[in-house]
């Protein structure tokens, strides 16, 4: 069974993840931009880039609501299986980036963390490390109007710079994770109004309360291609979300595998209840209920 490991601890996971990402970037199975409804001449779309389109298409259901965590869990597991196929290694587990550990460092040290070594995610603001233009071209990106379009350019980051509303961000800290897991009384998974104002665990881990924290802040801290809805362009996207999934798993281990909303009710968002389906372009739909307990499918090296 795959064990998901800290990318800064496991050299093997780091090397395989980079290798697998580049392999899926080069894997074409006949899917085209025309099939995905992307304007311009019809061109082949790689397996990696299909995840970019999937995430963009799911904007309205995968964020700011109860499905944030189960939807991304499905996405992560799907990618993990495809990486296993590409690597011919059924034991491969997606690595995670424990960004809260790096959040304990000074801002300068955060920028120099080993995750940004050129053998890992790379330090350059354009075509970083292994993700050169030749090996890892960005083919799909959104513009300011949030329209998915074809392009051909290097991967871009802007670490630690932020945007006007969140200038010069620093990474989240471990105390924020501890507060989330150890809240007394324990937080509910989610609750009314089921969006970015909910007081539950999901909303806080997503990073809406406190404003621009945790998962959201990591996206903003990395910047560049991690900012728009096409953020799965950057391999760091999955390292961030794998850590988010790990924190969710830690919370469920402590407080029970409970998902809310369990059913219809006033104000409950349609399509985001316990037994509503999560559609995938790579296979059958599954429900949130069906992904709450995947302990028989993969584990983490540590939940602390």
């Amino acid at each position: 069974m795959p064990v998901r490991e800290n990318i800064l601890v496991s050299a093997s996971a780091r090397q395989k993840y980079v290798q697998g990402a580049i392999a899926l970037k080069a894997q074409f199975t006949g899917v085209t931009t025309a099939m995905l409804g992307i304007a311009g001449p019809s061109r082949p779309v790689s397996t990696w880039d299909r995840f970019v389109a999937w995430h963009h298409a799911a904007m309205g259901i995968a964020h700011r609501g109860p499905f944030f965590l189960p939807w991304h869990r499905v996405m992560l597991r799907t990618l993990e299986r495809l990486l296993q196929q590409a690597l011919n290694d059924q034991t491969f587990g997606l690595p995670y980036w424990d960004w809260a550990a790096d959040g304990q460092l000074t801002p300068a040290q955060q920028l120099a963390s080993p995750i940004w070594d050129d053998q890992c995610m790379g330090s350059a603001s354009s075509a970083p490390g292994p993700f050169t233009l030749a090996a890892f071209p960005i083919r799909l990106a959104v513009n300011a109007a949030n329209v998915l379009a074809q392009t051909n350019r290097p991967l871009q980051r802007n670490r630690g710079v932020g945007v006007a509303s969140i200038p010069n961000p620093v990474l989240p800290v471990q105390a924020s994770i501890a507060a989330l897991l150890n809240a007394a009384p324990p937080l509910a998974y989610d609750g009314p109004p089921w969006n970015d104002m909910s007081t539950g665990f999901r909303c806080r881990l997503e990073g809406w309360i406190p404003q621009n924290d945790l998962h959201n802040r990591v996206h903003v801290w990395v910047g560049g291609d991690m900012l728009p809805s096409a953020s799965p362009n950057d391999p760091v996207f999955y390292l961030n979300h794998c850590n988010v999934d790990r924190v969710w798993e830690a919370w469920m281990t402590r407080h029970g595998r409970v998902f809310l909303p369990s059913g219809p009710g006033p104000g409950v968002p349609a399509g985001q209840r316990l037994n509503d389906p999560i559609a995938s372009p790579f296979g059958q739909a599954v429900t949130a209920a069906q992904v709450l307990d995947l302990t028989g499918t993969y584990t983490y090296d540590t939940l602390s």
Binding site: A58, A145, Q211
Partner: protein, 164 residues
């Protein structure tokens, strides 16, 4: 055959064709609404509905993204889904930061405007952009339906000092 509930991963063209029509519609239209942002609240037995539409120009050109406002007054945009801002102005500045290629050539002139009641903000314009732009404008129409919300007593909107 996959087991019920199993997360499968088939990258083949055949699998992609099964979902391509629905997927294509989502990519082209998304889950995003294209109308006004709608806030609802219940207060002392009253049902409050606030519809907000932004009409935004950047360097004289219309900005077609649809902004959402939460009941707490935070402004968000699907184009940068992990960001919320305290105002539409702040959010649009963040959009400019997030999509530099879309606004290339828009820099070159830092101009400080002082607007009474709105503080001071910096507007980046170029000579070229200034020729093209008549004004940088963000206007908002707000309609309140249902019974009028008393600003002071509104559960969520009460802390707002200015329209966002």
């Amino acid at each position: 055959m996959p087991q019920p509930g199993e997360i499968t991963a088939d990258p083949s063209l055949e699998q992609a064709k099964k979902t391509s029509a629905a997927f294509k519609a989502l990519v082209q239209h998304g889950h995003q609404h294209h109308g006004p942002s709608v806030r609802e609240d219940h207060y002392k037995g009253h049902h409050i509905v606030i519809r907000t539409t932004y009409e935004i120009e950047i360097d004289g050109r219309p900005f077609h993204g649809t902004l959402d406002v939460s009941n707490a007054g935070m402004v968000q945009y699907h184009g940068i889904p992990n960001v919320s801002a305290n105002s539409a102005v702040e959010l649009i500045r963040s959009v400019i930061d997030a999509f530099p290629d879309d606004f290339a050539g828009g820099g070159g002139h830092e101009h400080e405007h002082a607007h009474p009641g709105h503080g001071t903000h910096a507007a980046r314009t170029t000579t070229k952009a200034r020729r093209r732009a008549k004004a940088r404008k963000a206007t908002k129409t707000t309609k309140k339906a249902g019974k009028t919300a008393k600003k002071k007593g509104s559960r969520h909107a009460g802390s707002r000092k200015h329209p966002r």
